[in-house]
């Protein structure tokens, strides 16, 4: 076949991300995800570098590629200048393009992320906004957050915010004109199609 390896290598980030891994494992030593999950970025780089289609497909269908937290602590540590965290970005893109992400529990979380962050971007122009950080879904935010969200209209002006206001400032409403330009960018560059595919997907058999 050779299709998956070709797809991975055709990503413009590949050249910078995986030059030649010597399997030293320093990326795994520094990796916060490797401390928490059964995760080993060294093995991922090795699997991609070996180019075994079967193993790569197995990887793309697994939970493994979704464990990385994207802190990029691996980048300044790699003695060969590889970027395992960016290899992950490529693998995740290919997994989603191929529909393989649906085969793993962690991969299927992309739908939840798209419904949350993805919709926020396209609907209000923010990735995160106080209206979207609901206390009932964020118990870790504590009672002060619950208080702030409840009173945000009257309290946030004290901090100079412009909550749902016109003009400039924190938490202003982004104008329909700006939102249309933002959505147009998504339409022109494939972001909208990607969004719709993850949510509704042609990959549903």
């Amino acid at each position: 076949m050779g299709n998956l390896i070709d797809l991975i290598k055709s990503d413009v980030r590949y050249e910078d991300s995986l030059k030649a891994c010597m399997n030293c494992g320093i990326c795994t030593a520094i990796c916060p995800a490797a401390e928490f999950y059964d995760y080993d970025p060294r093995r991922i780089c090795d699997t991609v570098q070996r180019g075994d289609e079967e193993q790569v497909e197995k990887l793309l269908r697994s939970d493994t590629i979704w464990y990385c937290g994207q802190c990029m602590s691996c980048k300044p540590r790699c003695p060969r200048g590889n970027i395992p965290g960016a290899v992950i970005n490529i693998l995740r893109k290919v997994s989603q393009d191929m529909g393989y992400y649906k085969d793993s529990h962690m991969g299927r979380q992309q739908v939840e992320l798209m419904e949350g962050i993805g919709n926020n971007i396209l609907e209000i122009g923010y990735c995160v906004h106080p209206d979207k950080v609901l206390p009932e879904r964020h118990p870790e935010q504590g009672p002060v957050w619950e208080w702030y969200v409840k009173n945000i209209k009257t309290v946030s002006p004290k901090f100079g915010a412009n909550y749902h206001g016109e003009g400039a400032g924190a938490l202003r409403t982004i104008t329909p004109e700006t939102m249309e330009e933002l959505r147009n960018i998504f339409r022109v560059t494939g972001g909208m199609g990607f969004h719709d595919t993850i949510l509704n997907g042609p990959h549903d058999e």
């Binding site: 916060p32 990029m72 923010y126």
Partner: protein, 350 residues
């Protein structure tokens, strides 16, 4: 300056900045963005522009792998087009992840000129806009660091314990995307990040050097944003808190919006789950943004900076520095109405 250390410096513009707001900071620390603009305009007499037509850089979506590279690249280009339209060349993104994203896109355009052409084409097709690449991209913490001595001259207070006369012990946490992605774009690079340490030392404090100083706060993007994955996030913050605990820091300061929030909120969570705090008295270690730290020393009102919307409360720190505050004003609305205080946590003292 030592010639070796000189290699660890970065270029930071002196004036005329285009400001780009952060989704996380607008959500959790709006007072810090306001304080940054106030410091630039009122304390330093600098020109900084805040355009109402800006929007997310999509950085969180990009690192959650739900926004494709070409899309984020063109979104970045639109933000640069606003800067260009207003005649600015110095770009100041409020968020550390945005700073990483902008730096990465510019790097890719330099390495692959065909991508730059494609982005220009995409932006024009989508928005009929054109853009220049900024001459200088600096994070707001770079800008405050750059002017730390000028600000020090205007400060009413110093990072000194007024009861003991000793410097306050400060943990500084640098967001991973500040210098780990492009080490030469950060003051001190990835190995010796000095952007916050420089402020602390210039303003009278003492930097705490502890084993997990450079460990990630644990945000992890999808590892926090998906509720069932949050164990990853709290575990990494816990690792840092356990490591700093023996040094008894007076407070933590961070230059990353996510880190500032997580280091605060996970202390609450751990206290509620495990009855454990990382200070002696059970109040937790206050976490400040660098603007909150600078603003307090300049004499800004703690309740206008927004310290009351942190979960770990900061009155004990204010008392140590000698900063006056009105306890009755803490939970007042902007027009002076007194609100009922938030509920108290079961274990974390407030």
């Amino acid at each position: 300056m030592n010639r070796f250390w000189n290699e660890y410096q970065k270029a930071i513009a002196d004036d005329h900045f285009f400001y780009e707001r952060s989704c996380i900071r607008q959500t959790f620390f709006p007072g810090s963005e306001t304080a940054f603009l106030r410091m630039l305009r009122e304390e330093l007499n600098k020109d900084i522009f805040d355009d109402f037509r800006q929007h997310t850089c999509t950085g969180i979506g990009f690192h959650c792998d739900i926004v494709p590279l070409e899309t984020t690249m063109t979104v970045v280009a639109r933000l640069f087009s606003l800067m260009t339209e207003h005649g600015y060349e110095n770009y100041v993104p409020s968020c550390v992840t945005s700073f990483g994203v902008f730096t990465e896109m510019v790097h890719m355009w330099e390495e692959h000129p065909e991508l730059l052409e494609k982005t220009r084409e995409n932006l024009y097709k989508a928005c009929k806009r054109e853009f220049n690449i900024p001459k200088n991209i600096a994070h707001p913490s770079d800008v405050i660091y750059h002017f730390r001595n000028e600000l020090a001259e205007k400060m009413k207070y110093r990072l000194v314990n007024r009861f003991t006369g000793k410097p306050l012990k400060v943990v500084e946490h640098i967001g991973c995307h500040y210098a780990k992605i492009f080490p030469d774009k950060g003051v001190g690079k990835a190995e010796f990040p000095y952007v916050l340490a420089g402020m602390i030392e210039s303003w009278g404090g003492e930097v705490v050097d502890y084993p997990e100083r450079r460990h990630c706060c644990g945000f992890g993007f999808r590892q926090y944003l998906v509720q069932e994955n949050r164990g990853y996030s709290v575990s990494n913050t816990k690792k840092k808190l356990e490591s700093m605990e023996p040094y008894e820091p007076d407070f933590i300061v961070s230059n990353c919006p996510g880190c500032s929030m997580f280091l605060d909120r996970w202390q609450y969570t751990i206290a509620e789950m495990e009855h454990k705090t990382y200070d002696r008295e059970g109040y937790g270690i206050p976490v400040l943004t660098y603007e909150e730290m600078a603003g307090l020393l300049l004499g800004y009102d703690p309740w206008e900076l927004g310290l009351q919307i942190h979960q770990v409360q900061s009155e004990r720190l204010l008392d140590k520095i000698g900063i006056p505050y009105d306890p009755k004003a803490k939970y007042r609305t902007a027009d002076g109405k007194i609100l009922r205080a938030p509920e108290k946590p079961e274990n974390l003292l407030v």
